[in-house]
């Protein structure tokens, strides 16, 4: 196995011979050419790693050859050493400006040339390694990007279709994950007794892990619904499921509710989640009174023994609920101001009746408030009207 391929270009046979002798002895494969044109022909058969070329030659001189090699994308990475009888700085700078990687002045000692060749090959092998790693990284990145895009599509498929309708309720959402896929999830499930189960959750962190857990949260919620019961039982069950199946730092804030359009009530558990807003008669738009569906509860998944509390409030025909995750209101601006619940209350104080327009307006105003800081966390907004 040879150490690499060197092309020696010189019109003087004795120089070709002596360089060839030393190079072969050091373990290189040697190609020979008498001038630039012949060198290019030779390269058509086999591409060298390094070219040692004389400057002055008939047919095609070394500078011309250098420009040809460095101007061609297929050959420009070949290490080019120009051998020139013109000693002095000006000629060296001239050669390097042509694109040569190094210069040797004539007359030379064979040992000097060999030392340059050895050092050039160290660089060449480093370059090759970097190129190889780059290629590997690019391939890896392409694969990851494609997989993330697929996962993102899948995650979008986990969200309810919009505009949505369920048992006297109409809803829409805006879902803006921070990294293509995210840890926010929400779901709406009609129950057999004509009430509707609602859950919105935000898994700690973002990215792939959070997305995986968010899918688990949805499954845990749905399996709780099969046991019947209400938000308190659901929260306790989900808390247990999450605490048992996730790592120490992973948990979710969640808001779980049973919306009952017949009774006109909402039973809910707020598990460390930003409190939703209830805009009284908000479905018609305009200025309305807003209630905050607060409640102090632990996040789900911290510890299976932690207690939760359930609350109830009224839910009249024409009322509008605004659910969101903290990414919407917790962007820290340069001046350390956050939109916060107060800011969101202001935005929601005067919304259009049209749900889609109202959702767009909330997102636009939040972005305008944060400007120029972008959303950094996953953002989910759900508007739900009792029509």
């Amino acid at each position: 196995m040879h150490k690499g391929v060197v092309l020696v270009v010189d019109d003087e046979a004795p120089i070709r011979d002596i360089l060839s002798f030393y190079l072969k002895r050091a373990g290189y494969q040697v190609l020979l050419a008498e001038h630039g044109r012949m060198a290019l022909e030779e390269m058509g058969r086999l591409l060298p790693d390094l070219i040692l070329s004389d400057l002055r030659m008939p047919e095609m001189a070394g500078d011309e050859l250098c420009q040809a090699v460095k101007g061609d994308p297929r050959t420009r990475d070949i290490f080019f050493v120009l051998v020139s009888a013109m000693d002095g700085l000006a000629s060296k700078i001239g050669g390097l400006n042509l694109g040569a990687d190094d210069m040797i002045s004539k007359p030379f000692h064979a040992q000097e040339v060999m030392a340059k060749v050895e050092s050039a090959f160290r660089l060449i092998s480093m370059r090759k390694e970097i190129k190889r790693q780059n290629l590997e990284l690019t391939r890896f990145q392409d694969r990851m990007t494609a997989e993330l895009a697929l996962a993102a599509r899948l995650q979008m498929g986990l969200l309810p279709g919009i505009p949505g309708l369920a048992a006297g309720l109409s809803y829409t959402h805006r879902y803006l994950p921070a990294e293509g896929i995210g840890g926010d999830i929400y779901t709406i499930v009609p129950l057999p007794d004509h009430s509707v189960a609602f859950m919105i959750a935000d898994v700690s962190g973002h990215g792939v892990t959070a997305a995986l857990i968010s899918a688990m949260v949805k499954t845990f919620f749905e399996s709780q619904l099969r046991f019947g019961g209400g938000p308190l039982a659901w929260a306790q069950g989900m808390n247990r499921d999450l605490a048992r199946s996730t790592l120490a730092e992973q948990f979710a804030t969640a808001f779980l509710a049973r919306l009952d359009p017949v009774q006109g009530t909402i039973r809910y558990v707020c598990a460390g989640h930003p409190a939703p807003l209830l805009i009284h008669q908000g479905a018609a738009g305009g200025r309305n009174h807003i209630s905050i569906l607060g409640g102090k509860g632990f996040m789900l998944g911290i510890d299976e023994t932690l207690p939760f509390g359930e609350q109830t409030c009224g839910f009249e025909k024409g009322d509008r609920l605004v659910f969101y995750t903290d990414g919407l209101v917790e962007v820290e601006r340069e001046d350390r101001q956050l939109l916060g619940e107060e800011g969101l209350l202001e935005i929601c104080a005067d919304l259009p009746g049209d749900r889609e327009q109202a959702a767009d307006l909330i997102i636009e105003q939040a972005i305008a408030f944060n400007h120029p800081a972008p959303f950094t966390d996953d953002v989910t907004l759900v508007l739900l009207d009792r029509v």
Binding site: E249, F298, D303
Partner: protein, 112 residues
């Protein structure tokens, strides 16, 4: 930017955090807390949050995990100096009732 400092006060380790605690910096903070807990096995770990401007859910997760790992060594975790913004996040998530929270670092050290 996150700045973390640790020091010993008798049997207690004090970790002082300065800056914004979010997803990007949790790895750095996790290492410091893990090293402190495993190498020093303090009877009391005090985390001073006085100069934390913002904490997100990953930061909260880290603190919960810290409490659990201190618990395992039969130690205690005390938090202190929560600024209003951080206090609000703790209130909302009910973590105010999960952690032992003190106003000043002296109180946190004495509360052992």
């Amino acid at each position: 930017m996150l700045n973390i400092q640790t020091r010993q006060e008798g049997n207690a380790s004090v970790v002082t955090i300065q800056g914004k605690v979010n997803f990007e910096v949790t790895a750095q903070l996790r290492d410091v807390i893990r090293d402190t807990v495993t190498t020093l096995q303090p009877k009391l770990l005090v985390i001073n949050l006085e100069s934390v401007s913002f904490i997100d859910s990953s930061g909260l997760g880290l603190l919960v995990a810290a409490r659990n790992s201190v618990d395992k060594n039969s130690g205690k975790l005390h938090l202190c100096g929560l600024p209003p913004q951080v206090k609000k996040t703790f209130d909302q998530t009910n973590l105010t009732n999960y952690f032992s929270i003190f106003t000043t670092e002296q109180d946190a050290l004495r509360g052992a």
